[in-house]
Symmetry: C2
Subunit: 220 residues, 2 copies
Amino acid sequence: MGQLSSESGVAVPTIKYYQREGLLHAGVLTSPTQASYDDSHVERLKLIRALIDIGALPVASAKNVIAAIDDPDLPLTWTFGVAQHAITQTVSPPAGSDGSGMVAVHSALDAAGIRVNDENPGLAIAAGVLDSYRQLGHDELAEIVGEYLRAALIVAEADLDAVASRAGRGGMAQTVVVGTVLGDALSAGLRRIAQEHVSNVRFPAPTDARPSPRFHPDSN
Amino acid sequence: MGQLSSESGVAVPTIKYYQREGLLHAGVLTSPTQASYDDSHVERLKLIRALIDIGALPVASAKNVIAAIDDPDLPLTWTFGVAQHAITQTVSPPAGSDGSGMVAVHSALDAAGIRVNDENPGLAIAAGVLDSYRQLGHDELAEIVGEYLRAALIVAEADLDAVASRAGRGGMAQTVVVGTVLGDALSAGLRRIAQEHVSNVRFPAPTDARPSPRFHPDSN
């Protein structure tokens, strides 16, 4: 286990914890106090760390998505569902919601010819944001939901292209989980880049206005 | 202040806290112990609650973005920067990164003709995700970064359409902040919907496989 720790960069007590919690499969016992580990253990530890460190999943959620990867009978579509639930905070509609956000979401989906299960966690998230836009007097932001949906479909098609390029259910399921969990961060990062680009084109800052954007405090 | 509390749904001690922290402007003193508040206070309280409750901003970050809205001299492009920094976790590259993620990000941006400041917080986020994909043996996910970027540009153009539809710098700056902070959640929600839709089309689940996706534990 010391060797597994040095190869994976994960501390021994943490490895033991993952084994106890069922995230990491056991090694092959070579003596009562020794077990042997192979590449599959190193790979799995990398996956666990990526889900927790980059994907910010709690250990319990990481356990659920790993169980979904390892379940040979789980249809791929449901693997998406498990991964989505793992990364999705439960969202309550903002106080005073009149349900118009959910109506607006369904109207955008109808316009795009999309039907999903009522339990899809994205419905409540999107409806909550649209409710907030209206409550804050920003209807102009609610009106661009169709463009956001168009972008989401491009991302989802690309996600499924990546899944389809893998051979075998295990690899495909892991692509579903990794792409779903880390892809939100990729989208958010690229959105910041695209915003700067588009806003520079449309609203060029006067070159003599301020010495540097660093002037502004960054709270992180 | 009791009336402001009942109109906004925010408790009096919380209102006092926001005033001390500089998120909410003072009322007009009508006597040594009485102040009068108007619609601008109710609106501001709604905005603060949306940033904190829906956008999950810490109070210090909410304070920064509100200062950016209220600063009449701040160019709109920099208002985006302030909002982006407020919602962006600092990201370290995964251990053992060889810098190939950042190379891949710049290569995707070059292909799209996009140039941004090195300080754009999206660069490190996107590079970290691409590093992780490669380390996990999921190059097929790194290869779809161009499609993610295409989607991000659609979202950014829509964001700027919304900003441009507002009259006056104050309203535009608030659209920047609200759209940037809450728009990530909208994108993430719609991505879950689009994934279910596209994966149902491409990988239909056998109808007799399992009784219901509810069978799988949802850890949230």
